[in-house]
Symmetry: C2
Subunit: 203 residues, 2 copies
Amino acid sequence: MPKYKLTYFNARARGELARMLFVAADKPFEDKRVEFPDWPKLKEGTPQGSLPVLEVDGKIEMCQSFAIARYLAREFKLSGKDNHENAIIDQIIDTLLDMFDPFVNIAFNPNEEEKAKKMEEFYKSTAPTKLGQLENLVKKTGKGGYAVGSVLSLGDLALYVYIENCGLADKLEKFKLLAANRKKVEEIPRVAKYLKSRPVTSF
Amino acid sequence: MPKYKLTYFNARARGELARMLFVAADKPFEDKRVEFPDWPKLKEGTPQGSLPVLEVDGKIEMCQSFAIARYLAREFKLSGKDNHENAIIDQIIDTLLDMFDPFVNIAFNPNEEEKAKKMEEFYKSTAPTKLGQLENLVKKTGKGGYAVGSVLSLGDLALYVYIENCGLADKLEKFKLLAANRKKVEEIPRVAKYLKSRPVTSF
């Protein structure tokens, strides 16, 4: 089996999906967490001056969080069973990013007053709209709590991580399928164990 | 063969990659171009209030421009030949979006003075950085002018469309592999014919 090393900050954010893929697929990996003061000197050695970076057998293989996630999903048989299912997974990912990208922009706004106003708007308008669209995507083929088809896939794990990243994990009352999906992921014993033992970080 | 209909605005932007996939793969499709005044009444019938939308055999199949592109690439055998090549294609797409997303934000800035300043900064700093990263990705496995491996793929077409979308098609002097790749795509007879006959739009 290849030796995997994932380098990311000591945060969930754009690194957690790869970690969850390793955990769900039961593949060992080195979870290298860089502290922010150490980042500047590491930055230059990365392909695009960004994290996460995935190394395989000691060699830098790739950057870009979703390229890494897609690679691992294909490697670990966590893609969809056909092109139709993969298209639903891709739509889930793109819709999650349409929600996460504005969330991040707001979260990094240095103007506290504007930030508070825009964050309120995010939770009142953007988030429910996007969650509704995600619920519709899960409705297409998801069965038994799964997001796409009736087995675990990249779709479930992407939903799990990015809904949490946007601070929406406990705001799914109106989105029954998303709430059931979240529970399904948390019930996987390896995942449950990981979620209890992972470092607690603020984002 | 399925009957494809792609609905998008009369613009390149986020619709052109799907069109180029149809053309390069020599698959007929209905190229439905919505004029902006007609959009509000069509919007409600789309899955996410957005275009492009892909219909297959008269049924709405999906939205999200890159989910559509990935679906068509898999359908038309324009993906990479293995997981490693697909990871390079995914990194090319994510890097193109890291360039296109800020470009769009600047292009839609209503403050003309700020827009001019930020656009200058985009062409001076963001664009060359991103083009350098894309050149490095092409360097990995691209042969004979192709972006990934030695056959045409989604990677070539994504580069072609999004470099043009960012107004960079004639600014590739320092990026020999990207320039050669652009030429390679333009030399495909079907593509050359399409490029000459497509509607001329400002973006």
